[in-house]
Symmetry: C2
Subunit: 146 residues, 2 copies
DNA sequence: TAAGATTGAGGGATCAATCTTT
DNA sequence: AAAGATTGATCCCTCAATCTTA
């Protein structure tokens, strides 16, 4: 396990987390913009890759209020990336489904974000990378991973 | 250096970063709400603790467009947490200054967020914490630090 | 009553255009 | 023309209230 040289400005753990969070958000935003959509729209599309999902489950998965999701689906549907499909048995419920364009965009942005984030760690020894990933998982498990 | 037990669902580095980012954002939001403001307002106030700052420098520090900052300062000024002070020599420029209420809120939220994030790592051995912090710093240094 | 979804008000972000001062 | 700041249009979020269906 390599010991990284401590830089002159030694920031605390909390500050490091806040800055890292900003970096991740920035990467997500950049990649999405390159593909002509917003990061929120990209997140939504990626959730739909395995198959159609209902509004309620989507709002839980994306940690969004129902009303936020309504607006988000509105805009993404307007762009022709998803469609609202009525449920056969429950007339209240809707299934959000990817169009072909939506599926293409979902894959492109997911691959882009993953590549860019993994690319941040190319300088890092493989075992350090694995260790940090593992520690982060522990932190997430300690809370609701929210 | 302790080796954390690998959990059954072994997620990748990129996914770990995205989830961690969500967690940090959530903590920031919770603490700010407990203190009666939004996370963005809290961030702004914290920047002003050392002393008054100009609009242009603030927008750089917060990674915000000038227009976003105008609106943010508008709302925070309406709440009596900051004031716009004209520059003596340049009649275009403004200095954003904390009121007493603003300074109180800035300190309270900063301490709250730091405590909560540090609290996430209480289960972690001290040397693991230091190592992870150091690795994150390396990642940040590799880019523009977000 | 409860569940699924939408609407409306307000805070927050970007982008493009604008206005004043330098 | 360039710099400091604001305005307007659009997207995104929360919260509270509402409408329909179960």
């Amino acid at each position: 396990m390599a010991t990284p040289a401590t830089t002159t400005s030694d920031i605390g753990f909390a500050t490091a987390l806040v800055r890292l969070s900003h970096l991740v958000q920035a990467v997500f935003g950049e990649v999405s913009r390159e593909h002509g959509c917003t990061p929120q729209q990209a997140q939504l599309l990626c959730m739909l890759v395995p198959g159609p999902v209902g509004m309620t489950e989507l709002s839980r998965a994306l940690h969004l209020e129902k009303s936020s999701l309504t607006g988000l689906v509105d805009r993404v549907e307007r762009r022709g990336l998803v469609t609202r499909v009525p449920d056969g048995t429950d007339r209240r419920a809707l299934w959000i489904t990817l169009t072909e364009d939506g599926a293409r965009l979902a894959n492109a942005t997911h691959n882009g974000v993953t590549a860019r984030l993994d690319g941040l760690a190319t300088q890092l020894p493989a075992e350090d990378l694995a260790f940090v990933t593992s520690v982060i998982q522990q932190l997430l498990a300690g809370r609701g991973s929210g």
